[in-house]
């Protein structure tokens, strides 16, 4: 692959698209430097970005809360489009998918925003530290019922998912381990009357020693240490990150990554660099892109501006809304995005994006002039569209839309080509 193709690949997978002109600049920078800038923006001199969300006062009124929620989601998508540190935010999204904390369940915005900040701030840090923070995070304590779990009657919800979904994967622990974790993790509460402050209440905690994964544990610290020190942990976590960005890399690539992640003491930035370097070296398979990254990529390339309510409507119709993973397993897999609902909705969304693109935007002028290679390049497909899409674009009459280029841009965005990254 050419450097331009490598950069375009990294930008599609790890940055969720580029604005017009950025591909040229990054090609001049080179692949290695681009990976550096993605994984370590501080080192590349890209300024840290403040939390994009507003700290709302909680209001116990449905209409106001919906409005605040809408603004939060809008700030989220806007930040994903405008950020100069796109990979940090793509990783935060990975953790959003991994932990799958749902706005539908937690419903308290200040705590949800703290959670979003947590996964953004620690998403490229130390995995063990991240799991420790998540285990006593207010949103998670409510989401998986840790906040109501007591020594007298422990609730297994978080203990089970900590093992099955967050650190080890099924087959690496027993039902007894689940129950031991549930007991040792008791005592944490969320004080709803004190602004959802997280507190540890010793009398709700069962501190008796529990046998857990072959070790003795009795609190959050020891449970997290035992889970993260388990031999399956590095492979489970690194495999999930690698598949998220690379598709289905070979077992040998995954095994090597797991070993290096373990040797790096579960340092996520080392893992991330490893994953992106493997991707640039061709260790990846085609991926069906989910609606949110597809949408963000289209907004970046076109510069289209869409009002918040319409954005959420489009994303919901396609089947993926920020803050609303359908269940504790996170967002569903690729086949979901090929389903008829999502396919039909993507066509409608592409029309809205094209309509919302300015007359002088490169996306519109290239489409109006029939510059199909240039349009493909703008959409980060430097080697051009597929034969079918190219033929459909060439055959499309110019008067399909009142404004020249708008119909062609919509067709390009809706095409199967843009669905595969």
């Amino acid at each position: 692959m050419t450097t331009r193709e490598d950069i375009a690949f990294l930008a599609r997978r790890a940055a969720w698209g580029l604005a017009p002109g950025e591909l040229d600049a990054l090609e001049a920078l080179g692949t290695t430097a681009y990976i550096d800038a993605l994984v370590d923006p501080d080192g590349a001199g890209i300024e840290a970005e403040p939390s994009p969300w507003v700290d709302f006062e909680y209001v116990d009124e449905q209409e106001v809360r919906q409005q605040q929620g809408l603004e939060t989601l809008d700030r989220w998508t806007t930040h994903l489009v405008e950020t100069k540190r796109p990979f940090e935010n793509a990783m935060a999204w990975f953790w959003h998918d991994h932990f799958a904390v749902s706005f539908q369940v937690v419903q308290y915005l200040p705590t949800l925003i703290d959670h979003l900040d947590l996964i953004r701030d620690q998403g490229l840090g130390d995995f063990r530290e991240l799991i420790r923070s998540i285990s006593v995070d207010g949103a998670m304590l409510v989401f998986l019922d840790g906040a109501t779990s007591t020594g007298d009657a422990p609730n297994e919800n978080y203990g089970r998912e900590l093992l099955e979904l967050y650190t080890l994967g099924i087959g690496n622990y027993t039902e007894d381990d689940v129950q031991a974790a549930a007991v040792a993790l008791t005592g944490w509460v969320v004080r709803r009357r004190l602004g959802w402050e997280v507190q540890f209440v010793p009398r709700r905690h069962d501190s008796s020693p529990q046998s857990f994964l072959g070790k003795t544990v009795n609190d959050v610290e020891s449970v997290v240490d035992a889970a993260c020190s388990h031999t399956a942990c590095a492979g489970f976590a690194s495999g999930k990150v690698a598949r998220f960005f690379l598709g289905n890399p070979s077992d040998s690539v995954l095994n090597d990554m797991a070993e290096r992640f373990a040797a790096a003491e579960l340092d996520l930035s080392a893992l991330a660099r490893d994953v992106l370097e493997a991707g640039a070296a061709g260790e990846s398979t085609p991926l069906v892109v989910a609606p949110v990254p597809w949408f963000i990529g289209a907004l970046k390339a076109t510069g289209a501006l869409i009002e918040p309510r319409a954005q959420i409507g489009l994303l919901r119709a396609m089947g993926q809304v920020p803050g609303s993973p359908p269940n504790v397993g996170g967002f569903p897999g690729a086949s979901t995005w090929l389903a008829s609902s999502s396919t039909a909705a993507r066509f409608g969304a592409a029309n809205v994006i094209a309509r919302s693109t300015a007359d002088d935007a490169a996306a519109i002028t290239l489409a109006a002039d029939g510059e199909w290679d240039g349009l493909a390049d703008l959409l980060l497909r430097p080697s051009g569209f597929s034969a079918a899409t190219l033929a459909a674009l060439r055959d499309l009459p110019a008067n399909v839309s009142t404004r020249r280029g708008e119909g062609a841009l919509a067709l390009a965005l809706a095409s199967p080509d843009l669905l595969i990254v």
């Binding site: 019922d145 086949s335 609902s341 039909a344 079918a388 839309s401 809706a414």
Partner: protein
């Protein structure tokens, strides 16, 4: 490709339709296809003359075949708070969550009683078109949502499977190329429908299953161009799959009725019992509309969630069951009014039951032995097969005394089979299959 030219012809035919306009989030959309879809609905109604309520399978609808609807209740429905056993052990285990005895719904011929939110279903029990299967599960029943659901979907315990139990039946009975309307998933896709040859249509939200363009655009031309991006198929399987999704989507959109509810697509926090999902009532009304279209649909799944009641179970479970009860009753009433009641079997599934003992969060954790219901003229109703045995717990769970493949067998028999080869051998029909 014949499918494609068929679709293209239909789209050209729809070109004369007047664009309906609806406002979505401040934008104006033309729904050029809605009119042709509505026309199909009308044709469907016009050709349905049957009002028969006699023996199953004798309906005179255009495609005259039996239909199976599977209601997938994701999260693990609490069996003993849905069908309450008459045992003192129930109140011992459920100090906070026990349902008051005087509110439970008596079921004739059994000691079990129904959750009060399911009162609407009692008439079906009484007329013999509703049965319960209790203490049901699969070999190696797992307490992991995902492992349990995988097995429930595949119907093959102990081994990973690429296909679902319904997908294998659809493959086995497929004549000719895939017909996207034979299998429809409402509320979200179901892995149970995955086959090697079958591609099910997924309708997440019936209200917006359409191809939207703006009124000043040449919608038919643009939609036909969208179809053109699907051929020739690319070399890479992923791109080819993305292409293949387009013609079947267009065909389904064109043919399916859009029974639009008043669902607020922009609400950030859902207000229904599920996590931001559609209501059972809306989805089942859509299912009834599809049945009335008579487009050859044989299997539908209806996916709902929220049954993972680790905390605050009483109110949440009540709301969920209330939606299920009202949704099913409304569905059967609509089927009866349309003359289709004799064609349809409904089976409920849920990946596991919950622990006998409640936890400290006014909820219940994952268990094993579960509960299913079967509805319709194909079941010998008014009876509970198996049992919810509180006296002999296994690791704190209800024992699994029946295999869900028995229920699946009854369902596939209803469709006319083949059954046993799909489910890896014969399974007891539990005396529930109507002759």
């Amino acid at each position: 490709m014949s499918n494609q030219s068929l679709s293209r012809r239909r789209f050209i035919g729809a070109a004369g339709a007047t664009a309906g306009v609806v406002a979505v989030g401040g934008g104006i959309w033309a729904t050029t296809l809605r009119d042709s879809v509505e026309q199909s609905v009308l044709e469907g109604i016009g050709s349905t003359t049957s009002t028969t309520t006699t023996a199953a399978g004798t309906g005179a609808a255009p495609y005259g075949d039996r239909i199976l609807v599977v209601l997938e209740m994701a999260g693990g429905n609490d069996a003993i708070n849905t069908l309450v056993p008459a045992s003192g052990l129930y109140n011992d285990a459920r100090r906070e969550l026990a349902l008051p005895a005087n509110e439970l719904v008596t079921l004739s011929g059994t000691d079990y009683r129904l959750h009060p939110a399911l009162t609407t279903l009692a008439p079906y029990w009484d007329d013999g078109s509703m049965a319960a299967v209790a203490g049901v599960g699969l070999v190696d029943q797992s307490r992991s949502h995902f492992k349990a659901m995988d097995t429930w979907w595949s119907g093959i315990p102990g081994a990973p499977s690429r296909t679902g139990w319904l997908g294998r039946w659809l493959d086995a009975t497929l004549e000719g190329p895939n017909d996207p309307l034979r299998a429809i998933a409402l509320g979200g896709g179901s892995p149970a429908l995955v086959g090697d040859k079958t591609l099910a249509t997924v309708v997440r939200n019936p209200a917006n299953f359409s191809l939207r363009t703006f009124p000043d655009m040449d919608a038919d031309t643009l939609i036909n161009a969208f179809l053109d991006t699907a051929e020739p198929l690319a070399q890479t399987p992923e791109l080819a799959a993305a292409q293949a999704a387009i013609p079947s989507t267009l065909e389904a959109v064109e043919l399916l009725a859009t029974v639009s509810g008043d669902i607020d697509e922009t609400a950030v926090f859902g207000s229904g019992p599920q996590r931001g999902g559609e209501s059972v009532t809306d989805l089942l009304q859509t299912a009834a509309g599809i049945i009335n279209l008579g487009v050859g649909t044989r299997v539908m799944t209806v996916g709902i969630s929220g049954f993972d009641t680790h905390a605050d179970q009483l109110s949440r479970h009540h709301d969920l069951l209330n939606d299920v009860g009202a949704g099913l009753a409304g569905f059967f009433e609509r089927l009866a009014a349309d003359g289709h009641l004799d064609k349809v079997m409904v089976v409920t599934t849920s990946e596991f039951g919950r622990r006998i003992q409640e936890n400290g969060s006014f909820g219940t954790d994952h268990g094993t032995g579960g509960l299913q219901f079967i509805f319709g003229p194909g079941v010998v109703g008014g009876q509970v097969a198996g049992e919810l045995d509180l006296a002999n717990p296994v690791n704190g769970d209800l024992p699994v005394v029946l295999d869900t493949r028995s229920v699946y067998s009854i369902a596939l028999d209803w469709l006319g089979g083949p059954t046993d080869e799909i489910l890896g051998g014969p399974h007891d029909r539990l005396g529930l299959l109507a002759a």
